[in-house]
């Protein structure tokens, strides 16, 4: 795993286990009555205020998958998929560059019901991950992806508005619980309209521009995406997060993902920015410099010779325009 996940994620696991241990696992049930600690409320509704973070591998791939040798791999000695080795872009990072396994977050049979042409596009996306994934370019991550990226986010629950602030690229969204005009244009982060169904916050999200992905595996959607998110407080420090995903241009039927999202319980926890616009500049514009910064190394120094040949149609702004 990339270095930046180490501190926060490991800390989160321990905290989450402690938090969940006392209450039994209520997965699949929505009754809060069985908890040993009362659900905190604000204005008569469950209190979601605070800093939260998912703690799973969905950001790599929503679907169940094995661990693999590198974020980017290539054929090794053997021709088998399972014998692939880390490829040039990450080979110098050794065991820190692999991808962890996951039990997946897609409900039911674990399959994503792509239409045939969309399934082909998803495969192609996966193969061209480093050329196409908007995350690598530091673009606004969209919903639901922002909810389970390996960065914390903060919920501020006001009267008629709930604001969510994400560490990743300082993205945010407002959930309107009251009447609100739609956005002036289609959006990356969607237009979120919420309501309470009992103790569950239900949010319908629409008006997407279709430029986002769900994960680093190339799972994608179009501008016809419509989400129904359900936030249920299982215990003071655990949200059950469930999303029904509809997109008739890409999928044959609605499908669903679900996962727990945990409170970051460090007493001095605060949201720290991950302002990646600057971090992506070399990636985006490095080839346009007068003097390139990426060089062949020499002498005793390791030479990392990276071939990143962009396939036709996938140049920086070609893919973006689609």
């Amino acid at each position: 795993m990339p270095t930046r996940f180490k501190g926060s994620t490991v800390g989160g696991v321990i905290v989450a286990i402690v938090a969940a241990g006392g209450i039994g696992w209520l997965w699949g049930t929505r009754t809060a009555g069985a908890t040993t600690r009362p659900i905190p409320t604000v204005g008569g509704k469950p209190d979601f205020n605070g800093i939260w973070q998912a703690n799973n591998e969905a950001y790599w791939d929503l679907q169940a998958h094995s661990a693999r040798a590198g974020m980017v791999t290539q054929r090794g000695v053997y021709p088998y998929e399972y014998a692939q080795v880390a490829a040039a872009p990450v080979v110098a990072l050794g065991a820190a560059a692999g991808v962890p396994a996951s039990i997946g977050v897609v409900e039911g049979d674990g399959e994503i019901p792509y239409k045939p042409e969309a399934a082909a596009m998803k495969r192609e996306n996966g193969e061209h991950w480093i050329d196409r994934d908007p995350e690598l370019k530091c673009y606004l991550p969209g919903i639901p992806r922002a909810m389970y990226m390996p960065y914390p986010f903060q919920i501020v629950q006001g009267g008629n508005k709930i604001q969510m602030a994400y560490a990743f690229t300082n993205a945010s969204r407002v959930i309107h619980l009251d009447k609100s005009a739609g956005p002036p244009d289609d959006t990356y982060m969607g237009h979120s309209v919420g309501r309470w169904e009992g103790d569950t916050l239900v949010v319908e999200v629409s008006d997407f521009n279709g430029k986002n992905w769900f994960d680093r595996a190339g799972n994608f959607h179009s501008d016809a995406l419509h989400l129904v998110e359900r936030f249920t407080l299982l215990a003071p420090n655990v949200i059950r997060y469930e999303v029904t995903i509809q997109d008739p241009k890409v999928f044959t039927r609605p499908w669903r993902i679900s996962m727990p999202i945990y409170r970051r319980m460090e007493p001095n926890m605060q949201l720290l920015e991950y302002r990646c616009v600057e971090f992506a500049e070399e990636f985006l514009f490095g080839n346009l410099r007068k003097q390139p910064l990426v060089k062949h190394w020499e002498g005793e120094t390791m030479i990392v010779d990276i071939t990143r040949k962009t396939p036709p149609g996938d140049k920086l702004y070609e893919w973006y325009r689609r």
Binding site: N49, Y139, A165, P183, M189, V277, K290, L316, Y317
Partner: protein, 416 residues
């Protein structure tokens, strides 16, 4: 011409967000919005269920007051209604002339650099009541800078002038070349700038320095990283709960951002954590949210202040329609004393969603690619003997770009 075309494309992309923002956000001079006496009747300041002042809603300024008091109003703190009306008329006439495109000398770099003024920056808010947003020092001016800071600014200015010296800006003795003179291409063009390049000097024609060797040369604005704290323009959407106040800033060219202010007695984050918008700690003092902000980044920039910036902000809900925002700005390495700015924010209708909450400057930044491609093409053309020496072309800091106003003379901004 190809370079111009590419640059124009880039510029157009970067400013699209501004066009959209300004169209929805600003009442043109001559419209009724914001006219004295037409504001909604204000009721008492509301409070939240937990008993704190309620700051929630969408907020913006509805009039324009200069940050610093113009020299000609040195003895005057406020304008009369007649003076405000006269200023509005004068500004409308100036930007009207600007929009007519007759004022510019066609084909000059200033003409091209300022080409989008006419379409974008010719709407202005009405002139406000006060002659400066700065209330301390009492003269309404930013305090003198320290000798150390002056030395730094001089070094940067010398470097910037060296890059301009072979261009038409210096050849024609334009205001952007003040302090420099026309000469052959400077060897300093190959130097790393003496300090991290941040923002263009106000009115310098876009771009920070006359060079496009890489993204860093273009400055924060063109890199989509210009948003800074404090900010005195645009919109705020405030949502609050008992222990936290979140503020979405819709500012600049799609360069907005969100901050969450914790209400806490806890000390600031560790000293080695440096943040573009600093580390905020809020507390309630009566009707006012007081926020202490430290831990700024060496790359963040407010009027030349970076990692040593310290702010004390006061957000006071005066009544149902008004928040008074006051900020005391302190950086002993830059200014010889602290200074204080204040302005009022007016409540906007919630339902209108009058805020463009997606700061997507970066996602549409074709401009950066265009600028760099243009510069490389210029170099190739020169090397092949079919184009001018790149050192003679002004690529930033060229002047002629200041919100529809001329750099100097009768068409300069009367409030500057």
């Amino acid at each position: 011409m190809r370079r111009r075309f590419l640059e124009a494309l880039g510029v157009a992309a970067v400013i699209m967000a501004v066009v959209l923002l300004l169209k929805s956000a600003r009442a043109p001079v001559g419209a009724q919005a914001g006219q004295p006496g037409t504001a909604a009747k204000a009721g008492p300041a509301p409070t939240t269920p937990s008993g704190d002042p309620d700051l929630q809603g969408i907020w913006t300024r509805d009039s324009d007051e200069p940050l610093q008091r113009p020299a000609k109003y040195a003895s005057k703190e406020t304008f009369t209604d007649e003076e405000r009306a006269a200023l509005d008329k004068q500004i409308a006439e100036i930007v009207g002339r600007e929009a007519s495109e007759e004022r510019r000398q066609r084909g000059t770099e200033q003409d091209v650099g300022g080409a989008y003024n006419a379409a974008v920056f010719t709407s202005h808010l009405r002139t406000g009541r006060r002659t400066s947003m700065i209330i301390d020092p009492p003269d309404g001016r930013i305090p003198a800078i320290t000798a150390e800071e002056q030395k730094k600014r001089n070094e940067l200015r010398e470097y910037s002038l060296a890059l301009l010296q072979a261009t038409d800006v210096c050849k024609n003795k334009l205001p952007a070349c003040a302090g420099g003179k026309y000469g052959p291409p400077s060897p300093r063009r190959a130097e790393t700038p003496p300090y991290y390049i941040m923002n263009a000097v106000v009115g310098s024609g876009g771009g920070a320095i006359s060079r496009s060797d890489g993204p860093e040369d273009r400055g924060h604005g063109e890199r989509c990283m210009a948003a800074a704290l404090p900010d005195f323009g645009g919109f705020r959407r405030i949502v609050q709960s008992r222990d936290q106040v979140s503020m979405l800033y819709d500012v600049g060219q799609g360069q907005g951002w969100i901050r969450v202010i914790p209400i806490t007695q806890a000390p600031h984050v560790a000293k080695n954590v440096r943040l573009w918008w600093g580390d905020s700690r809020g507390r309630w003092e009566g009707k006012t949210l007081v926020v202490d902000v430290t831990n700024f980044s060496p790359k963040s920039n407010f009027q030349g202040s970076h990692e040593n910036l310290h702010l004390v902000e006061r957000w006071e809900r005066l009544d149902s329609e008004t928040i008074k925002y006051t900020v005391t700005i302190e950086d002993a390495t830059v200014w010889t004393k602290p200074w204080t700015v204040t302005h009022e924010l007016k409540k906007q209708k919630d339902e209108d969603n009058r805020i463009y909450s997606e700061p997507r400057c970066h996602e549409g930044n074709y401009g950066m690619a265009g600028l760099l491609v243009g510069a490389r093409e210029l170099e190739r053309a020169f090397a092949a003997g079919r184009g001018p020496n790149p050192a003679t072309q002004c690529l930033g800091g060229c002047g002629g770009f200041a919100g529809g106003f001329a750099d100097e003379g009768a068409d300069a901004n009367p409030l500057r």
